[in-house]
Symmetry: C2
Subunit: 274 residues, 2 copies
Amino acid sequence: MSNPSRTLFILSDRTGITLEHLVRTLMTQFDDTCCERMVLPFLDTPAKIEAAIREIDAAASEDGAPPVVFSSIVEEALRARLKEAHAQVIDIFDTFLPNLSTAIGKPTSGHVGLSHGMGDPGEYDRRVDAVNFALNFDDGSRLRGLADADLILVGVSRCGKTPTCLYLAMQYAVRAANFPLTEDDFMLGRLPDALRDHRDRLFGLTISPERLHRIREERRPGSEYASLPQCRKEVSAAEDLYRSNAIPHLDSTAVSIEELSIEIMQRVGVERHY
Amino acid sequence: MSNPSRTLFILSDRTGITLEHLVRTLMTQFDDTCCERMVLPFLDTPAKIEAAIREIDAAASEDGAPPVVFSSIVEEALRARLKEAHAQVIDIFDTFLPNLSTAIGKPTSGHVGLSHGMGDPGEYDRRVDAVNFALNFDDGSRLRGLADADLILVGVSRCGKTPTCLYLAMQYAVRAANFPLTEDDFMLGRLPDALRDHRDRLFGLTISPERLHRIREERRPGSEYASLPQCRKEVSAAEDLYRSNAIPHLDSTAVSIEELSIEIMQRVGVERHY
């Protein structure tokens, strides 16, 4: 074969999450799913490096081609040993640090990476607090506390408010409350009273009626609530409400939670807490 | 000053999340918080690139030193324009793609990066399903469905089960249930009946009694539930239960949610669903 299949290894002394995302981004630039990915996290001792090298060498034999190894391991001795594997090793610190050090005019420290570690214990507490906030305020159950929210997501039932609030909490320690729009609100034809004091922090989610119908069918098959006409009616009423009250909004149908979250923070003007 | 402060810009045509994490990892190798970080996401038109360049040039004047600009923008024309900014531009595709293309023997495609996009719409549904699963099974409220869980986190109240379950769901579409251990379980001195059929999927969380005390004090100040002796008693009983039933367990006190999640999946042997 001219293009044998390859194994991509992702090696880290911590979780490997950062490097895994980087490799996924880079691989979007290649047309096929040419390569199998293997993540080997927590490689922080010589014995674990030896075990990893055995896996890499075995993949080299099996593929008939040297694996590509991305590494974000910090310790010098471990990195040196890794370079003896039968593989093309791409070390992200070797790749970036010399230029970066020159650019900012500082030497490097050699600390093991903390980007997903407990660099700041307060950060963990803020994220957990924000998750608890999102859970407590889920589906409008505790209106009194809306004043403490960094932002308030509004939308019809099952349009994606809860996962988005939880993601904002988990990743950015943003306190996101969640307020469902119901038939009662649409009959009134104006913003629910509970929301009127918080206009500057409101963000609307919308969704395609067809997708909403499919989601609701899984929850309550055959119900009026899940029917396509009902979904069409609610989505249209919610969008009218957003437009008539100048509430910024987005369609969640074809957008990932990550993209939604970043765009919502940007448009509401929320500071990330880390 | 010999080391003027610098601004680090993170430019992306999508969310910038991947690049932000990479830069954070790289910056752990420098001792100070020498540099302010600015993330500019969704730069996908010439007008948005011009606005970004104005921000970069303004930072260059203000800092009296050229900013360092990390970019994961894909489109050629936008990248070319960016290189005219008064900055040191580090383009991650330029940095990695030539080597990677040679290593795997494939040309690059020029697609805008999808690592946090809707590359696979089924993936979004799996993650949202898993989040709903975690919410429904939170705190042992729906025991019948434990059989559907990929893993079951056990531990005393407030030890960190819920945020960890939600993170596993959100990031890896893992269906994680959450089962609180209570005084009743400790009095029995054995594993609760509901868990006995699922031993192979159990994972125990533990926490330092002092930290648990602080967390519970915020929730119910001055209560018996939050008192340090009560926290000591429960944590010690939970750890005894883990040991006598050979349940793998971890102390969440000084570990991030990301690290906990990866280690739990690895030790329970859970397949990530993406």
